[in-house]
Amino acid sequence: MKREIQAHFKASRGEFHLDARFTLPAQGVSALFGHSGSGKTTLLRCIAGLEPSIDGSLTVDGQCWQSNGALFIPPHKRPIGYVFQEAHLFAHLNVQQNITFGQRRLKPHERSMTFDDVVAMLGISHLLKRAVTYLSGGERQRVAIARALLTSPKLLLMDEPLSALDEQSRADILPYLERLHDELSTPIIYVSHSQKEVSRLADYLVWLEQGKVQAEGPLQRVMGRFDLAATHGDEAGEVVIAKVMQHDEYYCLSRLQCCCGELWVKRVAGEVGDEVRVHIPAKDVSITLEPATDSSIQNIWPMVVDAISEVEQGQVMLQLRAAGNRQSPPLLSRITLKSFERLQLSVASHCYAQIKSVGLLS
């Protein structure tokens, strides 16, 4: 049986009409993505069972949690962890008591997370005895994440958990979340409005607009769509899956193989043979007609222009594919209209795509 989360929720709240039907893989990270007020939080609450008045059906990994009025598993019986958009800590408990609140309610064998790990990862060990009133915004959010993780959830729901955190804290937490779904195969549904975060983390994307699902699918497919790219300006780009081929310890680089060619990137953590995900922002892909040899840019692929669209005035989005490989997934490049005209590009033009190695996500 395929591991899936199938959901359909329908409700009206004033002028806001929710009618979202989608299917997510019950593994990896799925992102709920959309503008402010598009219904992300509402949908997450439905999945958690916090909106019993909203009609809908929900099946998680073969188990029915809710079915149009006929069945409704109450939230405390759903094996979820929930990180609220505002931390919602218990004011009468200190940090440690908050964190272990859920854990204490699990049977020992249900506990797959350890207190020490989670506390260390979130960097809150110095706060344990503190009253929650005296936490800063970011500290609050980290405590809320720890609290949800320690319920050892079978499904983790996170509502913009990193928005109040600085780069450093994010960088500490993100790999942990990745480990979570890699090692424990805990599926995560992640609400975010940051395309960067989404493309770093998510395997699957549900794009909400005004309560409706606008686009849905594996990250690569949805992110590659021109309309999406056009909307999201600077962060549009392509995510490709690549295989680790070689590590160069001296230069601290790794060589990846992806469909379009070789890619030198900053030393990645995986073993040779592992698959990694690479986000190539359209704006970081520049075009030359001849391969530059004396450039600091290491990744240069011969490509063919597949499609051309004008994104905004003065900006052109090129869809490229590997020269000699009709089936390769598209690579996006955004250049100025001026360069486009100067280079006299057109569909089927041959060119070289330059990708700045350090501009890549791991």
Partner: protein, 224 residues
């Protein structure tokens, strides 16, 4: 003057039992009032406060009629083979509960409503059943409401005597509580005895209340 301690013990017993039972009765009622969207919410909230508007003696009179052998409740109890309540300690407790109910229900109702739904939702996502949540989240967060309810009910039961005299019959050692004893002294023009008892009662209550408030203060959530 030989001090008669029996009314003192009786008063303390009555106030303690009443307050405890009120907690048991008022807590679910207040919780229901704070959560329901039923149309019965307002009428029931109003009914809870009604015993207050009758003079205690008059209320006592009606309770006497209701609980007595000819009253609806009394007849029902007799059918069950039970004694009727008036002139027993149990009767005092029932009357006190009835009369002090609003003092417990109202503060709890307010405290529960001001919690909002966030703590309940957080607790639910952390595997706490509704009952677990109530005990471990709602009760501690609503502590000020409980303190107020306890203070008002306890103090009021200690001081009340109109209803109690009526339902209890002022039987020494059985239903003669301290408030009635003081009252009797005043009526007998034994003012010095009344002064001593009153002063003792006020002092004792002050110490009890003060300790309660200090304990409450120690457990107070820190505020910015």
């Amino acid at each position: 003057m030989v001090m008669d301690w029996q009314p003192v013990w009786l008063s303390l017993q009555l106030a303690t039992v009443t307050t405890l039972l009120l907690l048991v009765i008022a807590t679910p009622l207040a919780w229901w009032l704070s959560q329901t969207r039923s149309f019965l919410k307002q009428p029931i909230a109003a009914i809870v406060a009604l015993p207050l508007v009758l003079p205690p003696t008059v209320l006592g009179f009606y309770l006497l009629l209701l609980l007595g052998p000819q009253g609806a409740v009394g007849q029902f109890m007799q059918q069950l083979g039970l004694d009727t309540l008036p002139f027993t300690f149990a009767g005092l407790v029932v009357a006190s509960i009835f009369y002090s109910l609003p003092f417990m229900v109202q503060p709890l109702h307010n405290a529960f409503e001001s919690l909002g739904s966030e703590p309940l939702e957080s607790a639910a996502t952390l595997r706490a059943s509704p009952f677990d949540t109530f005990i471990n989240v709602v009760v501690p967060l609503a502590r000020p409401g409980f303190i107020t309810g306890i203070v008002l009910s306890f103090a009021h039961t200690i001081g009340e005597f109109g209803v109690i005299l009526m339902i209890g019959g002022n039987i020494p050692g059985e239903t003669q509580v301290l408030s009635i004893a003081i009252y009797d002294h005043v009526e007998m023009l034994e003012y010095s005895q009344a002064h001593i008892l009153s002063a003792g009662m006020v002092l004792f209550s002050f110490v009890v209340l003060l300790s309660l408030y200090y304990v409450n203060h120690r457990f107070e959530m820190p505020r910015r």
